[in-house]
Symmetry: C2
Subunit: 167 residues, 2 copies
């Protein structure tokens, strides 16, 4: 079965994007990975509106990517801070891959604003594609995509229509 | 300088997202990585409108992520197909990272729709974070983020405003 003959409804990329496929969401996750967990701090640093941030946080908590954990500063009311769950932490390769691609093609002449390094040896990190035997793929040309156990043939009715396949 | 004190305008993730931070765009790239390069095929497989697809393709070509390459089927007019440039191919770790996260958390019970394997040994691939010395980071906890050469201190005027920092 060629990729074009496979139904895209259960494509893993599509399903991942239904949770994190939006700029503001990724920027919120960037803050979380950098230890910025409080509403006002996230809002101020990203520069987004209260309502948009509240909506995106709610969705990320509902999806199990962030946990809302109560905290209370002296003399203030109880609020939540937002911490990455294990599911959220598993997005680390996505974040590093995005950052490094941006570093490569869009950094200012003096270099990127942030360097992520291995804490053990201080060397900068990269997101790489490796197989389970540890071979690193230098490019997509060294990979092969085959239908998986969840592959379903597209129904003729679905072919060429402009609806029913929204991400 | 703490991350919160750093200006986000030149954040590499933010700049990457200004090019590929949109669901349809990533789905078009998914098609390209799977060898689907022609307008009608992309449109039919993703299920998106002509105008949206034309707009996203134009932007990806302008950004140097896709090349528009003319082709002509017998008896038809000349059209373009869209091929990943080197810059586009460099998004492979982003795509694999998204796919594998989706595989892990959103696959159907029977498994994912697509398996990407190392062509050399048939083992499935994963996107991993490694440092330049080859140490693999098991989690974000093993990484450290420091201001890079392009880091700029946020101006007090920028702090807390809801504009001027749009991605």
């Amino acid at each position: 079965m060629h990729w074009l003959e496979i139904e895209t409804d259960n494509c893993s990329i599509q399903r991942a994007l239904s949770v994190i496929g939006e700029k503001w969401t990724i920027l919120i996750l960037r803050e979380a990975f950098n230890g910025v967990r409080r509403f006002d701090q996230i809002r101020g640093h990203i520069g987004m509106s209260d309502s948009l941030l509240a909506d995106r946080l709610r969705k990320l908590v509902a999806a199990g990517v962030l946990d809302a954990v109560p905290y209370q500063d002296p003399g203030r009311r109880r609020r939540n801070e937002y911490r990455l769950t294990e599911k959220g932490l598993d997005l680390y390769p996505v974040m590093i891959a995005l950052m490094r691609w941006g570093d490569r093609y869009y950094a200012d002449p003096e270099g990127p604003a942030l360097i992520v390094a291995h804490a053990g040896c201080d060397e900068p990190v990269e997101a790489v594609v490796e197989c389970e035997r540890g071979h690193r793929l230098a490019s997509a040309a060294e990979g092969r995509a085959d239908p998986g156990p969840g592959a379903r043939a597209r129904t003729p009715a679905g072919a060429g229509t402009a609806d029913g396949h929204s991400p």
